[in-house]
Symmetry: C3
Subunit: 356 residues, 3 copies
């Protein structure tokens, strides 16, 4: 059901405490996060191998975690190293450890084959940790499948309607045709809008008198991550004159919690040189209002789909990016399944040879 | 599961606003109601054909409705007439329109084959809009299937027990045998009770000193509508002397929201000549108390059935009307299925002939 | 799914009122309890045989109960003795009566074959009604299957971790090996712990300066009942010198409400000779805090299991009693099924002979 050989964002770096246990579910698997004495984050399956109680109900002991039910102690690799009342610890007494990476304040877990966990596949979320950019980190929980949130992010024509009074401000966004091209493990979407009034939320960044040319250029990559440069420039200014422009960079990612619920991590950064620190806070508040608009619409859509799951969508020109990304996900899932079958076959052949 | 070629009440006329969108679910289908500039009510499937978002989350534009997600515009026939960013609108871009009728303040939708929508099948809910009668309109939501509420209305012996202190007031109602006869698409039920104390709620209508003869005469017709004359007359008065009688007319109907939840629309009218306007309000309040008694009992019954769905009921003499109406529903469902098979066969024959 | 030929505790004696109806669900069956004029408790299926409404929504009439929906009257054997508006009552008009026993303040229902209801199978819950012992009765509802709560009670190694600051107080409890031996329809578990600090909750009973030797000796019998002597004695005192010891007796039982929810009845008694009556109340409050610790852990465990029901547990040395009792339940279930098949076979043979 889910692409597994991917880095999924499980938390903002600041969410993982230094002296306590933190649990969040990804792809239906409860995962325990905690920090070693050196501050490194460990990701273990949040389920004791003994009677399946959540380890997050236990406690940290040094770099280990002790189950709060019957006291089994696990080290940072997930191996059980102590069972109260028992001399020896069976080899099978271990919980799954997930490959983990922290990049620019995002904490990622690798949900697939650990041997394939490749740091080169981490997304370029640079503005999450860049001295030139400034933001307030955001998190939102969705009671909908991940796919519907990705669909939303892949088609900005909704800005004209869902966000008419916040991020949009003009039906010209929906009128503009998006250009789409492939990038590794995703697509790039460009949308340019000419001579439109500034959207209401730009007022947090600066005073703008006349109309703007606006742009949205983003990569949307597996498993569901948006990396976007956007902005607006007074129509009378030259294309390379950014002195009066609003320039933003946004990193957003959607992680399935389960098949029907999702985590949404987001930020919209502004350039520090553009003014007072309070601007980042104002941008964040505007974004929250707008993302609540999305959540209300997507939740209503999801409920309509749940009530009648077989009703097909009607694909239109504006759905080009949605269709391309859904196809990419489908192809990736198929490749992962094929790969799994190949691994099984190879194992069977090896077994057959060893018998012969 | 549901009889479809029927007019189902979806709303009281006053519930549908003049400047906004209204949504209610009938037979599991969310339906959008709104008014044209002329005040006529339109009923469309409340689900955009594009990405299935509820149209009721959008807005009225003249006699049209615009989806609030990506801006598709639909006219009052359900045809899409504008897709932002697209020159042409595909023929398939439409949402279902339901035949609609308003009669005596009840708004009906036809849930079956539109070609069969026949205004002659509307029930005679005259007292909902008659200068001689007066009432306060009622609506109640049920977390139970429609059938259990119909069962309740088909057997007034429950008045003696569920409504002992409200509508009933005497165990004689349960003792009396109901007479049942067929009417088109339903049955007529008559129950007469001799020489009983006036039920508590009659006090709202008038002071009554001695005992009464009471009567209940109602038609119960598909899909689940009760149309009732009832009343009580001092035992000492002649049968045709209505001067000191209480005379009421009630229209009640149960519309399935889903297979497990229902809408209940009701009123109990009194004759305007019988006194002050405040009487209608007092009758309504009495009815609400009594119908809460029903809802508590039916909800408890429904939960018991859900916990053990295979347990059969034990049919007794008092269940005659329940059994007859359940049979009518079953026969009607079977006829609709047969009709659907006939239509498929005719189509297949026509196709076969066109190939030959 | 459940062992049926068992006495299940359905209520504390004081919970069943003298003038009203009481309903509680056991093994998924709603059961009505009420008292006759003589004070004896009657247990009937809480579901009218007519239209399946709960009888507990009706009213007591003498030693009978009248359904509040259509007025059927049932006597204390479950036989219907009056149907309003009907002369004769069909033989089939009856609701199930359950064998019932009250022993030492616990009210038991027999959920299996009434012919097998044997009072000798009632557990020895003596301290629930003994002049030498004193307690406050406890009840707790669980949103988890019964089995997980039994597992918890069968393995006291969790006292060291779940109840570190309440009932436990030392990791030595988990270190100690439990001795297990069979008893009729259950197992006996003994655990002795030498030279440990007194657990925090002993302070309610008496001031204790030094370390204790502690003991827990309990029978755990079908369907899920714990009967325990426990206590602690200053290490320096002789084994038979109980003058400075804390001695407690506890009766606890877990009754499945449904396959996924449970009732938990419990008490921890102290010897009246040990001091002021307020001690029983203080012990009860300590126990409530500790049993909330259990409920939080078991509920979290249950949710983890529900999220991934196929994940096996890893059995360890400490699970010996859990494994033995689960096997006893499995064997008893299998025997009941075999018995049912045998009964069917015997009936078939008898029928065959009567035909021949």
């Amino acid at each position: 059901m889910f692409v597994r050989n991917c880095w999924y964002v499980i938390a903002w770096d600041h969410e993982v405490p230094h002296d306590a246990l933190f649990s969040r579910t990804v792809l239906g698997e409860a995962i325990l996060l905690y920090r070693t004495g050196e501050g490194e984050i460990v990701a273990l399956r949040d389920r004791c191998c003994h009677r399946l109680a959540p380890l997050s109900k236990g406690r940290k002991e040094g770099d280990c975690v002790r189950c709060g039910y019957h006291g089994l102690l696990f080290d940072a690799t997930g191996r059980c190293i102590e069972i109260p009342g028992t001399e020896t610890v069976p080899e099978k007494a271990r919980v799954q450890r997930y490959p983990l990476a922290v990049k620019n304040k995002w904490v990622f877990v690798w949900m697939g084959d650990p041997a394939k966990a490749d740091l080169a596949l981490l997304p370029d979320n640079f503005s999450c940790d860049d001295p030139g950019w400034d933001y307030v980190p955001g998190y939102m929980h969705y009671a909908t499948p991940q796919q519907l949130i990705c669909d939303n992010l892949l088609d900005f024509s909704h800005l004209s309607y869902v966000h008419e009074k916040t991020l949009g401000g003009s039906s010209a966004i929906a009128q503009a045709r998006a250009e789409i091209e492939p990038v590794p493990r995703g697509i790039r979407v460009r949308r340019r809008v000419h001579d439109v009034p500034p959207p209401p939320y730009y007022r947090s960044v600066r005073e703008i008198a006349g109309n703007l040319d606006r742009w949205f250029v983003y990569d949307f990559v597996l498993p569901g991550t948006l990396l976007m440069h956007s902005g607006g420039r007074p129509v009378e200014d030259a294309e390379d004159d950014m002195r009066r422009a609003v320039r933003l960079h946004s990193c957003q990612t959607v992680t399935p919690e389960t098949g029907t619920t999702s985590h949404y991590f987001f930020q919209q950064s502004r350039r520090i040189e553009d003014g007072a620190p309070s601007i980042a806070e104002a941008l964040y508040r505007s974004l929250l209002v707008a993302f609540e608009e999305d959540r209300a619409m997507i939740t209503a859509q999801s409920q309509a789909i749940t009530a009648d799951p077989d009703q097909p969508m009607l694909l239109l020109a504006m759905d080009a990016a949605v269709v391309r990304f859904r196809k990419l996900v489908g192809d990736t899932l198929a490749a992962e399944r094929l790969d799994a079958v190949g691994t099984q076959l190879a194992r069977a052949e090896r077994d057959a040879r060893s018998i012969a």
